[in-house]
């Protein structure tokens, strides 16, 4: 099936005879729904562009750089642009500026870059600016190691920046899931006017696998932003994005408004995958690559007659508390496995609230920066 | 020699008594007065309106857009 590529024309509304520093050329081309064999970081790039993201602001950092390399090639074909900024600070703020026009932009980075963006993420959450972000997680702290990790879970889910805010955090575990969830991400970003942050460990990001891409569809332009975007007073009375010129009561109101929104998101947007929890003795809880390995683990161990189940959180914030609400009687304990020293562990313990023992297996860094299937299996065997 | 269709105006509510117009007026027609405005500032006034040449310098230097020369209708 061949469909017309979504082309967004981009031009400057200025005297045509004058030179423009901004002009980009939108080329028309055609594309179909297709299966591509890509690094997952590239899959991320393809997926977001095919869902309507036209501006990708970024600064190189391994293992996220693949995303910008890919968008720098494909975005111009869609009439968009990859904008390499001078730093992650500038990236985040340009992304905010883009969002202010009602346009969905994206960025991709890794640990140190994420940390540099925290002030602005707090700002975007407070200013209710939608965007798509990717944290291709590597080993911290400090500049750290470029191999994959999951040690930015706290930063992602609790707002590493200041203030009472949250962003929606999604953790797809494969290239296909990245593709499948991207339209959702766009919808969440606009519906709740919030940054949506993908956290994917570097191992998964640099892994090459195939993914089925449906026909491109510009989800991003389906949302009406005219009620809030700062597009000039041509069609609305003065609007402004408030941050520095608060009154005390405006600060309180904004916080209450955000709180209410976050409660709504918690209620409606929990996402997870669950495998054979119904009669399980032990439930493995893991996200991203460990969650994916858990799929094999469950079938292997079940084949050995061992009753193991899996809960794989897909939304990390809101955390899928609901998955833990009605755990069957059979469950005797849980095992959390992470590529860190125990971060999602807190959320699982909070969800379980003392009803069951919650065990932990984790690792950060090293040549094999994650727990192997063998290690996970061994640990579960001690719990059965 | 005043332009017929112009007049000098002061927006008392906006004035902050900074005195910049007083210093700028080439004809020394302005002074800080006794009347307080809602912001608590003594409003500038024209003490010799007849000397005003409607040059508009007071408008240019005023940091609070509180004074100037407008078309009279």
């Amino acid at each position: 099936m061949v469909v017309r590529r979504n082309v967004i024309r981009y031009s400057l509304a200025v005297d045509e005879k004058k030179r423009s520093n901004l002009k980009t050329i939108a080329s028309e081309s055609y594309m179909k729904s297709e299966t591509l064999f890509l690094k997952n970081a590239q899959t991320f790039a393809e997926a977001m562009v095919r869902c309507g993201v036209r501006y990708h602001f970024a600064y190189p950092i391994t293992p996220a750089t693949e995303v910008m390399k890919h968008t720098s090639v494909i975005l111009p074909q869609y009439g968009g642009r990859m904008v390499q900024m001078e730093s992650e600070l500038a990236v985040a703020n340009a992304l905010a500026g883009c969002a202010c026009t009602g346009t969905l932009g994206a960025t991709s980075t890794s640990g140190p870059g994420m940390s540099l963006m925290q002030e602005t993420i707090s700002y975007m959450a407070g200013g209710e600016l939608p965007c798509i972000m990717l944290d291709a997680m590597r080993v911290g702290p400090g500049d750290g190691d470029i191999v994959g990790a999951q040690s930015n879970y706290f930063q992602a889910t609790r707002g590493g920046g200041h203030g009472d805010y949250r962003v929606i955090v999604l953790a797809p575990a494969s290239g296909q899931e990245i593709v499948d969830i991207m339209p959702e991400a766009v919808k969440l970003a606009y519906t709740y006017r919030t940054p949506v942050l993908f956290v994917i460990d570097g191992v998964t990001c640099t892994m090459t696998e195939s993914a089925n891409f449906p026909e491109p569809h510009d989800y991003a332009s389906e949302f009406d932003t005219s009620s809030w975007a700062f597009t000039g007073t041509g069609d609305h009375p003065k609007r402004y994005l408030l941050t520095g010129s608060y009154t005390h009561s405006q600060g309180e109101e904004l916080n209450n408004h955000l709180l209410a929104k976050y409660e709504r998101i918690k209620e409606e947007e929990q996402r997870w995958e669950e495998i054979q929890v119904d009669d399980a003795d032990v439930v493995l809880v893991a996200f991203g690559i460990h969650g994916r390995m858990g799929q094999d683990l469950v079938s292997n161990m079940r084949a050995d007659g061992k009753k193991v189940g899996l809960i794989r959180p897909i939304s990390l914030w809101p955390f899928p508390d609901k998955a833990f609400e009605k755990l069957p009687e059979s469950v005797k304990s849980m095992l959390v496995v992470e590529m860190n020293h125990g971060q999602m562990l807190d959320d699982v313990r909070l969800a379980v609230n003392g009803r069951l023992p919650v065990h932990f297996l984790g690792k950060t860094g090293g040549d094999m920066p994650l727990c192997t299937l063998a290690e996970m299996t061994a640990k579960i065997n001690t719990l059965l | 020699m005043k332009a017929k269709n112009k007049k000098h105006v002061i927006c008392g509510e906006r004035c902050k008594s900074c005195g910049l117009c007083v210093e700028a007026c080439p004809k020394n027609t302005l002074a800080i007065g006794q009347t307080l405005n809602g912001q608590g500032y003594n409003i500038v006034e024209q003490i010799r309106p007849e000397d005003c040449v409607l040059c508009g310098l007071c408008r240019i230097v005023c940091p609070d857009v509180a004074i100037g020369v407008v078309e009279s209708d």
């Binding site: 509304a13 005297d15 501006y55 500026g97 002030e119 597009t231 | -």
Partner: protein
């Protein structure tokens, strides 16, 4: 007020009083910017990206959309905005602290990138909003709340001149420093505001105007003395001048 509104048209919201202190130079620059927007008839497609500082309030007095950026980052916000919506006119309104201390990298990279946005830097040579601390522009020996014995250039360096750093940047097309200590300098400043916006409207490239203004409160001077000090001390070091005016060189690359 209503009478004055005749001069100023729709951009300036005269029913909102400026929150600036008496005599504050921000008042003058805010008015100049509003006048230029009005004059060009671009109010409906103009967006102000304000920095954090006393000038952050400047947009409240104009009927235009506004974005309050995080401290120092207004130029980056403006770049993102302009790229996504090039038909709009975007200017930043930043203090010297915002623009030349914390935000120096964003400012200079925006200038160098050369995409058509405009940055206004209102240099009152200290941090006004936070209570008069030293800024990069504080003069040698000047006492502020963080330099109780005066700026010691051996510790803090000499006052930083910003547009001078844009000299070598080909993407920056209009670069000027202005002052507001008397009617004449204000008229010149007004002209630079217009040129800077015009440069953007024509899509030529980056434009920048620095304004030397007094902060009587931070300087702990009377309004009159603060203007005198501007005229005598500040402009001696920060010389008003047009550094670049490449608005006619459209064919140049």
């Amino acid at each position: 007020m209503q009478e004055l509104a005749k001069i100023y048209g729709e951009t300036l919201l005269l029913d909102k009083k400026f929150s600036y202190c008496p005599g504050c130079g921000h008042g003058i620059v805010t008015r100049l910017v509003a006048e230029a927007i009005e004059a060009f008839g671009i109010r409906k497609r103009t967006v102000s990206v304000v920095g954090i500082g006393c000038g952050g309030f400047s947009h409240h007095y104009m009927e235009i959309d506004a974005i309050e950026a995080m401290h120092g980052r207004a130029p980056a916000v403006a770049v993102g905005y302009k790229i996504a919506k090039p038909e709009n006119i975007v200017y930043t309104y930043q203090g010297d602290g915002d623009c030349s201390a914390i935000g120096l990298a964003e400012l200079l990279h925006t200038a160098n990138r050369g995409i058509p946005v405009t940055c206004f830097m209102i240099n009152n040579n200290l941090f006004g909003m936070t209570g008069g601390q030293m800024s990069p522009a504080t003069l040698e020996g000047q006492v502020t709340s963080t330099t109780p014995k005066g700026r010691d250039v051996h510790q803090h360096g000499y006052p930083l001149r910003v547009p001078e750093m844009m000299a070598d940047m080909r993407g920056a097309k209009y670069v000027a420093r202005e002052a507001v200590y008397d009617a004449k300098s204000i008229r010149k400043a007004a002209s630079s505001v217009r040129k800077a916006l015009d440069c953007q409207m024509k899509g030529l490239g980056f434009s920048f105007v620095e304004f030397i203004v007094p902060c009587p409160t931070g300087l702990r001077l009377s309004v009159s003395d603060s203007y005198k000090w501007n005229k005598e001390k500040m402009v001696e070091y920060f010389k008003p001048q047009v550094f670049k005016n490449e608005m006619e060189q459209n064919d140049e690359n």
